[in-house]
């Protein structure tokens, strides 16, 4: 059982940071709704508010790690130029996708959209975390602030969802490969 170092980084970027960020979303949205609705409906405790603040900070950190590892570690391998005359394009995912009319859309639409829309997630969730930390349950008294926080939180989810889905599909068509081979186990026949 082995994995390439490039493939491992793609997993850390997508499944690790991106996947954890998306998994965290349902909890964050639920708690944001509960904390920002009128107090008589859900009297939040200081401990829960502190927990949500830490939770939102961690989500913002995950979002930034996802886009930064994507843009500066994985994307350069994706867009690497193949030397002239290269026939086997499996180490050059962008060129591999562009080489066929069946797969070119995964680059021209998929990656072109993903590489930009993904950045809306960390910008939005950072703002959401900041506003919640600043206002806490006082957000209940700021109807317009509450609306904006929830709206941007949904966009942060949508943007990450689009990027995550496209990333997964692109990786199915043309996975990032290469680099050092990492041996995960030397399992023999059972």
């Amino acid at each position: 059982m082995q994995i390439s170092s490039h493939g491992l980084w793609a997993m850390i970027h997508g499944l690790g940071f991106g996947g954890l960020y998306l998994l965290a979303f349902s909890g964050a949205l639920l708690e944001l709704y509960r904390f920002t609705t009128p107090a008589d409906a859900y009297p939040g405790s200081p401990g829960r508010a502190r927990f949500l603040k830490v939770y939102l900070i961690l989500m913002a950190v995950l979002a930034w790690l996802a886009v930064l590892t994507g843009a500066y570690i994985v994307y350069p391998w994706y867009r690497a130029a193949a030397p002239p005359g290269t026939i086997d394009l499996s180490l050059y995912p962008q060129r591999l996708l562009m080489a066929s009319p069946i797969t070119i859309g995964w680059h021209s639409l998929g990656m072109e959209w993903k590489e930009h829309v993904a950045w809306l997630a960390p910008i939005s969730i950072t703002m959401v975390a900041f506003v919640f930390i600043r206002y806490g349950s006082d957000l209940r008294n700021h109807r317009q602030l509450r609306r904006a926080v929830l709206g941007f939180a949904w966009v942060a989810f949508l943007a990450a969802g689009v990027a995550g889905f496209l990333g997964a599909m692109i990786d199915k068509q043309a996975p990032v490969k290469g680099g050092r081979t990492i041996q995960l186990s030397s399992g023999g026949e059972r």
Binding site: G47, I123, Q144, G151
Partner: protein, 115 residues
């Protein structure tokens, strides 16, 4: 930062909305800056090398770095101006959401290709 995490709601805001408004409007502007720069970086061949701050990543590195700097500078500026004030939040929200929706649309390649 306040410490009113779980305080009961009184119906009267304890903190002016200026700081939140600054963060919200700056986020909208940052997202929009990113989308506009992405379109410009894609359409303008002369700008591509200028925006390639980190060659292996290409113009994406410049597009995102410039957008993030613009977002943070705008945020800091608005925060300094508004943090103690109560601002017209409905208008701030409207502008921020229009910018956010425009940025979502502009990052979608078929729409960006129409420009």
């Amino acid at each position: 930062m306040n410490t009113n995490g779980g305080a009961a709601s009184t119906g009267t805001p304890a903190i002016p909305n200026g700081s939140g408004a600054a963060a919200i409007l700056a986020a909208g502007m940052g997202a929009f800056a990113l989308a506009v720069l992405a379109v410009v970086g894609d359409k303008c061949a002369q700008l591509k090398p200028i925006l390639s701050f980190y060659r292996p990543t290409g113009p994406l590195s410049g597009v995102t770095t410039v957008a993030i700097v613009l977002w943070l500078v705008t945020w800091a500026f608005l925060e300094l101006r508004w943090r103690s004030n109560t601002v017209a939040m409905a208008r701030v929200n409207a502008i921020a959401f229009v910018l956010l929706v425009l940025s979502l649309l502009l990052t979608f390649p078929p729409i960006a290709d129409l420009l």
